[in-house]
Subunit: 323 residues, 2 copies
């Protein structure tokens, strides 16, 4: 395995500059009071393509050898990486093909098409994704850019924590969502090198707690057909992300669907910003573990804002435990 | 009438500093492409209490003579001024009583209570508000701080355009929503003095077009029982705001309910920020009048973000004309 390090992250930061935003860090007096902590919200919902995934995709695409350009790139993704790869390819003027589960949110499908990506639908199973992608690659010669089990992608995602440290250090802890583990792995690379005293927490839906189960078992536990409102967090760890998760993460905190929706609702109502359910899991984890976080300076990565607005009725306070 | 001028606005800016935010101006490549203009979004949805109304309320409250403090302040409001006055009074430790129509959004009622304001409900008619308020004032001796027909309030609202000019000048035009006309009047004071070449447009719901009708008739036209999703824009002009609207406004642009909801939906989806329907009317007006705005630098005042999230199903793209 090609294990990325802090030099990979710094190189990525240089490679993607000008193609992605340095996203702002927002504070909220309300959220500080609610959590008893000092929260620094890193707003990747304002990132190009609406999520942190633009970082890793740009790093992978802009580093391609010139002879690969004509054959393009391909991936499978539940959505945000698909948009990000389409965006990155579009900036370079090369083709992107994305294998996407047929139940992916409409807004994400529209966005991929809007960035010029070609969508190949598949059944919403991890195995179906992989098989369909293999066919695409055999047909096109595209370079596979995995959504997270890819050193280039992890190095790109590590630029998020790099900026967060520059904007808000010192931090006692950083909390980020975990799906396949790309954002967490990139955060591990950056934080363990530049701020080794900062605790690193992953927030995960109870209903898709494969990372939590993996850490408990000591090896990768895979799940299929998981159901959670946090659609970006359904994927399982792979060897490269397991490398970092098993070594660097302080803890994995699981949260209920109610807690995710409640946290998302509070962010919308009080901070006036749109985040997707996956992005609300860190706040849910912080609010669910006050003893662990009270009094500390916490970086909270709001990973994305690509929510399907026609699914928002689920946010109604009548459906949540939010007071 | 006590007509505020640019000195009143500057004095207000000094009086309220530290109690309200200097809100950011956001850009959006998508919105620029959609409109054909350069749009500078002044984010009063991020303002204290969730709307620009904090500016005027703070200016009125912090300028009160000391002997009035024990008797407090009172107002009638469909919501945002109520929150703002409660907040301002709370900062000073004095009482605020707000007469609020019984159909005001739940989130606004909760927020008033959260800031320590006392709510006295009334029927959702302009006349009922006034009569109930007169009773409250007779009982308490509170100082009436009108939501817009008040020189102190207008001067406070003028600080929004003052900041916008500092952040984004030169501007060819500024577009803001019009309800009772407080924000527009404050914008008129500031812009006509500091940037007389900037055109000033008011955006108004077709279904609550009293300002448009007033300008056409040459005198204040009042409406009662209007229905619009832009609940902050149901109020009618009063002499002090009519003074400015009739003299300084370049034009009033009316927009349909569909256009308001579509603009709000686009802001949520593409800019990832929460705005209330009233705040989306300027973008709706810009998108509905491309010939007037294309190629220009336009300040767009996103007046507030206090939307009842359980009313958001109306935002579903299936219900809008948004493509």
């Amino acid at each position: 395995m090609d294990i990325p390090n802090i030099d990979s992250v710094r190189a990525a930061a240089g490679r993607i500059a000008g193609h992605v935003h340095v996203t702002p860090v927002l504070r909220s007096a309300f959220m500080d009071a609610l959590s008893g902590a000092e929260l620094f919200f890193k707003c990747e919902n304002f990132q190009k393509t609406g999520s942190f995934k633009a970082r890793g995709a740009c790093n992978a695409v802009f580093g391609l050898p010139r002879e690969q350009h004509s054959r393009g790139v391909a991936t499978h993704s539940s959505g945000n990486h698909a948009q990000a790869l389409s965006y990155a390819a579009g900036r370079l003027g090369i083709a992107a093909t994305v294998v996407m589960p047929s139940d992916a949110p409409r807004s994400k499908q529209n966005a991929v098409a809007g960035y010029g990506g070609r969508i190949v639908p598949c059944e919403p199973l991890n195995r179906a994704r992989v098989e369909t992608l293999e066919r695409v690659i055999a047909e096109t010669g595209s370079e596979f850019v995995h959504p997270y089990n890819d050193s280039r992608v992890i190095a790109g995602q590590g630029t998020c924590a790099l900026e967060l440290l520059e904007q808000s250090a010192p931090l006692d802890a950083v909390v980020a969502p975990i799906g396949g583990g790309g954002l967490m792995s990139g955060s591990c690379v950056t934080l363990s090198s530049l701020s080794p005293g900062t605790e690193i927490y992953a927030a995960e839906p109870e209903q898709a707690d494969d990372a939590f189960q993996s850490l408990k078992a000591g090896h990768i536990v895979r799940m299929d057909r998981v159901r959670t409102v946090a659609d970006g967090l359904k994927t399982s760890l792979e060897p490269l992300t397991w490398h970092f998760i098993s070594r660097c993460v302080t803890g994995i905190l699981t949260v209920s669907e109610q807690e995710i929706i409640g946290a998302m609702y509070r962010i919308l109502e009080r901070m006036k910003i749109v985040v997707e359910p996956s992005a609300a899991t860190p706040l849910a984890a912080i609010l669910g573990n006050p003893d662990r976080f009270a009094g500390k300076r916490i970086g909270v990565i709001l990973s994305g804002g690509n929510v399907d607005l026609d699914r928002l009725p689920a946010l109604s306070p009548a459906h949540t435990s939010a007071g």
